[in-house]
Symmetry: C2
Subunit: 205 residues, 2 copies
DNA sequence: TCATAAACTGACTGGTTGCTCAGTCAGTTT
DNA sequence: AAACTGACTGAGCAACCAGTCAGTTTATGA
C-alpha cells in the first residue's frame, strides 16, 4: 500500500510539478494538457483521472504554491531571531527577494493575471490568494509592531505601512523577473530607503 | 478621398480600440480574432487586411498605449508647475495613481505577462516597453534631482531611489486592479512614507 | 488463486483557433 | 468606357484544444 501510494504520488506529483512550471512560465491558456502529458510521460487521460479538469489542476498547483510559500516563511522565522523590529524588517526583505529567486516559479505564478481573474468567480482560488497575501502582509506588519515596541521603528500605521513596503518589495521582485532592472543592484538602496521610512528619527547630515 | 481615408481610419481605429480592451482585460491568447471582428462589426478578413497577424495587432496596440501614456505625462508636467522637488514627487505619485484609474486598460496591459515575454524575442516590443519605463523612471528621477537642488530632498542615489519609488507606486496600482486592497485608503500613508524616505531630516517626535 | 478496485491508456469527439484567398464592389484614373 | 485600385468579405482550412470513455494493466486483500 505504501508502495502504491508512493507510485500514485510520484505520478500525481510529477504532473503537479510539471503543471507548476508550465502555468508559471507559459500561463494558463498557453499550457496544453497534451503537452503536459507528453512531458511527464503519461497518457492524456491520466491527468484527467487525477484532476477532473484543467481548472482543478490549476487550483491544486496554487494550493501547493500557497503551502510551500507559507512553509518557507514559517521555517525562516521559526529559526531566525532578530535583535529588534528594524532588523526583522531587513530580514523579511532579504528573505522575500531571496525566495523570489529560488522559488521563481511560485512567484511567477503570483505575478500572472490568471489567478486573480479566477479568484473573482472561484472562492477556493480567492481563498488561496488571500491566505498567501495575509501571511506575507502579517509578517511585514509583525516586524513593524515589534520595532515600535523596542523603539527601532517610529510612529507609523503598522498595517498600511506594511502593505506599502510589501508592494514595494513585490514590485521590485516582479520587475526583476521581467529583466527590466536588477533587484540586486538596488538591494542596499532598498534597505536604506526602508530604514529612512521607518526610523524614529534620521541622523543629522 | 478625405472621406475614404476617414472611413478606413475609423475601421482601423475601431479594431485597435477593441483590441486594446480585449488584450488588456482578457489577455493575448484568450482574445480571439473572430470575437474581435464580431464586436467591431467587421468581417474576419478585414482585421488581417489592416494588421498582418495577431502579434502585429498587439504591437500596434502597445505602440498606441506607449504614445498615449507618454503624451499624458508630457501634458501634465508641461502645464503643472511645482514649488519644489518634493512637491513634484507628490504630484508624480498622484498623477500615476490617477492615470492608472482613468486609463485602466493601458496599465492593465502593462501589468500582464505577455508584453514582457514577447519583448524577449521581439525588439520592437522591447523598444516600446523600454520607452514607457524610461519615460516614467525619468520623471521620478527628475523630481528627486530637482528636490536635491532646492533642498527639499536629501542625499540619496537619484536613479536607484526613483526606481524604488516607481516600483512601489506601480505595485500599489497593480494590487488595486486585482482588488487585493485599495490604493485610495493608502494614499496619505504613501505620501507620508515617501516624504520620510526623501526628506533631508525628519522633524523630531 | 481470484475477484475487485484502482491506475492508466490512447483513440476519439466536437469545437475553436489564427489565418488564407478567391472574389465583390465603390470609387478613381486613364 | 475601360482599366485599375484598395478596402472589404466570408467560406474554408489545417492545427490544435479540453475532455471522454471503453477497455487494458496493475495492485490489493481475502
Amino acid at each position: 500500500m505504501q508502495g502504491e501510494i508512493k507510485k500514485d504520488m510520484s505520478r500525481k506529483k510529477a504532473i503537479l510539478r510539471a503543471a507548476t512550471a508550465f502555468f508559471s512560465q507559459k500561463g494558463f491558456s498557453e499550457t496544453s494538457m497534451s503537452e503536459l502529458s507528453k512531458i511527464t510521460g503519461v497518457a492524456g487521460g491520466t491527468i484527467f483521472y487525477h484532476f477532473k479538469n484543467k481548472e482543478e489542476l490549476f487550483l491544486a498547483v496554487l494550493e501547493n504554491v500557497k503551502a510551500e510559500i507559507i512553509e518557507e516563511f514559517g521555517r525562516y522565522f521559526g529559526e531566525k531571531k532578530f535583535e529588534n523590529g528594524m532588523e526583522m524588517m531587513e530580514g523579511v526583505i532579504f528573505f522575500y527577494l531571496y525566495l523570489a529567486g529560488t522559488m521563481e516559479d511560485h512567484f511567477l505564478l503570483l505575478h500572472r493575471h490568471y489567478p486573480y481573474k479566477l479568484a473573482e468567480v472561484n472562492p477556493v482560488c480567492r481563498g488561496h490568494l488571500e491566505a498567501i497575501y495575509n501571511c506575507l502582509a502579517d509578517i511585514f506588519e509583525q516586524a513593524i509592531l515589534t520595532g515600535q515596541k523596542d523603539g527601532s521603528v517610529g510612529d507609523v500605521n503598522p498595517r498600511k505601512t506594511a502593505l506599502i513596503i510589501f508592494s514595494m518589495i513585490d514590485g521590485i521582485a516582479r520587475f526583476k523577473t521581467y529583466n527590466l532592472y536588477d533587484a540586486g543592484a538596488l538591494y542596499n538602496e532598498i534597505l536604506a530607503a526602508c530604514r529612512r521610512m521607518l526610523c524614529r528619527d534620521t541622523p543629522a547630515a
